[in-house]
């Protein structure tokens, strides 16, 4: 029995029906047709999902990393507390010295605020934040009870903006909205588009300028990418939103090109900026050696400047020379291993390329909160049926900005480039997956265990909630949300760090000692760890083959 049938067989009728279409085994279709998968539907009550909520997507993912704004969580203490310093979105203060990333701000609502309304407390909290910190922007992110009791946080924000003369933007990102973090991304994108992007017309200083969208600087990834882009000669105007700043995002519409790293969390901004300002966007992937080279070459082709093209090749050659010998050695240690990837909304795709660079085959991949377009490609967007949950998340009507709208590429060049690169399109993850591998949307605790047993991947990339489930079962698990406190993993140097981390995990001496010698089979009892670091006959530990 194949693992999908086995899993579904354990479910009751309702769960079976809800899960059936979220699991598929990849088969190459005719004419490049991609299989359909169900995604972005409600989590099933009682089934242990890894998903978070709307607040987590808005405050935790998109808004929180902006370093120069005071982001106040309006709600009871938990939500603000859990999203304080736990995501590894690194930030350094800019010239103004403002870096609020180390701080957690909350209205810490009490019972009386729930009964009598929390807007008074919010108003007072804003006043205190202004008095103590003098920020140039305040963001307010609401949590579940705020929406239920009907606090008008937008009115409070508008009033504060008048009183203090600073940007004050509220995000109604109550946890119950939408079906996952994804709704929160959209709400955050809308807020940034409405109030921040386009609010300053300070032009870039450099000849070629771009924004880095969907890069949250986890473990310093964004800084590593920026280093490469700067070396080639690009000016990075803004980053959405790792180490990002209100000041930079405000003038992001002045850049020539938007690079989209995490498609799920930021594609709305990319599309809205295209509509309002004419800014083209390019899907890039800075994870994996081959992918970085391809992305850098795509960007160079977009700008079509011989100097940039030359610098691109020089930078690629220099970086490759630096990392190639060690990548080769790492590949020798990792070749033939298999991996499962279950992360948020783009990494499960991106990391397959880096794993391929290291000789590791992906046998299972899926997303926590993706939509069908992340799996199947953006061309399916018109076919995605809106449901009650997605209708609850506002879609902004974008009008062209008559003064600021400008188009970088000629229509002919645009069409030409669209054929050769992911310019304003994204082909999704499934197309890049090997035949026979599995794709699972919203993989749950039970399915994680079942897949780990059935497919026996050597490495399971996931998050903290299932890390130790897998580790206890003898599978190396590496967190791909937080990089297990390592990184950066982006770019050429990041690829090496990633490879080293895998070797470190696969060959940890402890794997070979899990079974006590008095319980081990006599033949392997006395055997020292072999060259690859583990004994035969041990339960657990990544396999060598």
């Amino acid at each position: 029995m194949d693992v999908k049938t086995e899993i579904l067989g354990k479910y009751n009728a309702k769960v079976f029906k809800s899960r059936r279409d979220h699991i598929l085994q990849v088969e190459a279709g005719e004419d490049g047709k991609v299989q359909e998968i169900a995604a972005n539907t409600r989590a099933i009550p009682g089934i242990m999902t890894n998903r978070g909520c709307c607040y987590a997507g808005c405050k935790g993912v998109v808004v929180g990393p902006i370093r120069d704004a005071v982001t106040i969580t309006h709600g009871p203490i938990g939500c603000g507390f859990y999203s304080w310093g736990t995501r590894r979105n690194k930030a350094r203060a800019g010239e103004d010295g403002k870096n609020f990333i180390q701080y957690c701000f909350s209205t810490d609502m009490q019972e009386s605020d729930i009964v009598f309304g929390g807007d008074k407390k919010l108003r007072q909290a804003i006043k205190e934040a202004v008095d103590i910190f003098h920020p140039k922007a305040i963001f307010i992110c609401s949590t579940c009870p705020v929406g239920l009791i009907g606090d008008d946080i937008h009115a409070v924000a508008a009033e504060a903006e008048k009183t203090y003369g600073i940007l004050c933007q509220a995000f109604s990102c109550e946890g119950y909205k939408g079906v996952s973090q994804s709704g929160g991304h959209h709400i955050a994108n809308n807020g940034l588009m409405k109030r921040v992007i386009g609010s300053s017309d300070q032009a870039p200083a450099g000849k070629h300028s771009l924004n880095l969208l969907g890069e949250y600087n986890i473990g310093g990834d964004g800084w590593e990418v920026e280093r490469l882009l700067a070396a080639i000669g690009y000016e990075v105007v803004s980053v959405f939103t790792g180490n990002g700043s209100v000041a930079d995002i405000a003038r992001s519409h002045k850049a020539d090109l938007n690079l989209v790293q995490c498609h799920r969390s930021i594609n709305y901004v990319a599309e809205m900026m295209k509509a309002a300002y004419g800014t083209s966007w390019l899907k890039v992937n800075f994870i994996g050696i081959e992918s970085v080279c391809q992305s850098l070459r795509d960007i160079a082709a977009f700008f079509d400047d011989p100097e940039i093209a030359r610098r691109t090749e020089e930078v690629i050659a220099a970086e490759l020379a630096d990392v190639a010998p060690e990548m080769e050695r790492l590949k020798e240690r990792l070749s033939g291993k298999t991996a499962a990837l279950f992360v948020g909304g783009s990494r499960s795709h991106h990391y397959q390329f880096l794993l391929r660079d290291l000789g590791v085959t992906t046998v299972l991949a899926g997303y926590e909160f993706a939509h069908r377009d992340d799996y199947e490609g953006r061309e399916v967007i018109p076919d995605i049926k809106e449901d009650a949950d997605s209708k609850n998340i506002e879609t902004l009507e974008i009008v062209q900005d008559p003064k600021r709208y400008r188009v970088f590429l000629s229509p002919e060049r645009y069409e030409e480039l669209r054929r050769t690169m992911e310019l304003e399109r994204y082909s999704g993850m499934i197309r890049d997956m090997p035949d026979g591998s599995y794709v699972v949307d919203d993989l749950n605790h039970f399915e994680t265990e079942m897949f780990a047993k059935a497919l026996k991947p050597d490495i399971f990339f996931s998050g903290i909630k299932d890390k130790y489930v897998l580790q206890k079962g003898g599978t190396l698990s590496r967190q791909l949300h937080s990089y297990d406190y390592s990184g950066p993993y982006a770019g050429f140097r990041g690829a090496v760090i990633f490879g080293r981390d895998l070797v470190m995990g696969c060959y940890a001496p402890a794997w070979s000692m899990v079974i006590p010698p008095w319980k081990a089979a006599p033949s392997s009892n006395q055997q020292p760890p072999d060259e690859k670091g583990r004994n035969e006959g041990t339960a657990g530990g990544p396999s060598d083959a």
């Binding site: 242990m48 939500c79 859990y82 310093g85």
Partner: protein, 452 residues
Amino acid sequence: MLDLTPKTLADRKALRINPCKTCQPVGALYAALGVHRCMPHSHGSQGCVSYHRTFLTRHFKEPAIAASSSFTEGASVFGGGANLRAAVKNIFDVYDPDIIAVHTTCLSETIGDDLNAYILEMDIPDDKLVVHANTPSYVGSHVTGYANMVAGFIRYLADPRAPKGDRIAVFPGFVNPGDIRELKHLLARMGKDFIMFPDQCGVMDAPMKGVYEMYPDGGTPIDDVRALGGCRHVYALGHAASEEPADVLDKKCRVPNTVLPLPVGVAATDAFVMAVAAGGAVPEDIEDERGRLLDLMLDVNPHLHERKLAIFGDPDTVAGLTAFALELGMHPKFVITGTPGEAFVHRTEDILAGYGVGDCTVKAASDLFELHQMVKNHPVDLLVGSSYGKQIAKAEDIPFVRLGFPILDRYAHSYMPMVGYRGAMRIVELLAGAIMDRYDRDCADEDLEAVM
């Protein structure tokens, strides 16, 4: 680090900055993991439980299972009854626990979901149980959430008709498995027949065997929770975490109790040992443990004497650490908790007064921003508390010892005790180590001593 924190104390009424507490549900979840074959369940949006599982897993480096009612906007408007019914069915079908322990969230409390009614009307398989506790996030803290869930189990399960026997019960408080093991060690040495409830040993410190078990060997058996009703006496450790459940058990089953401070340090451990001995002899080997601790305290005295320290964290832990710091001859200057409740302040001030310390600021419902500002104005030699203290420690260059909850950035702490005489020895090692390492780091080369 924390460069934007001004030295001038800010008067705040509404803005919480860098909290020293979190919300009730995570404490309820942790309590429920201390019952064997129990699935904790969060009645709210799935984001809550995602945060709570993440948070507990980061502290314990162990899987922390829990399910959610996964509210959507519809459920928030029409009530979460249907979601809870579906959740309970799915949990029993797929994960097969013996008991589901439901706790509420700010979401389900705000809309007024009546968990009593939902559970009464629910189809629950004959051999299975569903219990609940109300844990709105806008009341109390994670510590009260823990207490409420422990009380919730008692309300549902403790059996007033359980045969009365000689067994005692111990409520360990919001502590690590390492602490519970230490308590069990003391109880076993004293030859006591006891029920430890809740008991996260084996669950949140499960051994690596190469096989994942969703319900590992560990946790208080359900029959023992029922049998609490027949216990001779309950020793409830930690006022914030254990007083409420002990009261509930008394009211329901007439089991008398003694509420004791968390046994941290000499006097509090003495009190626990003597209370449990109940007039009987204390075994010699426990007395020897105590003797070794006292020996160590005298040995280390020159290094800790009059050292000023700031302690923050959960009320029971902080009160215990304050008492022990005083026993070590140290000088607590700031003692704060984020958990609201003035009882903590009074109790801690009494402890300080007992040692003639009148210049220590004790605060409940405080936060780390306030602590940082106070420390900026009146520097201390040592900071003791959870992981979030590392920011203040770095900003002010203060030696820092991690004790309490949560510790997200170090390993092995959850296996190690803080309670009991041996736990106290570990605390001494940590405190003295931090202070002496700092001396070695900062002293002139000619002052670096091989012997200290």
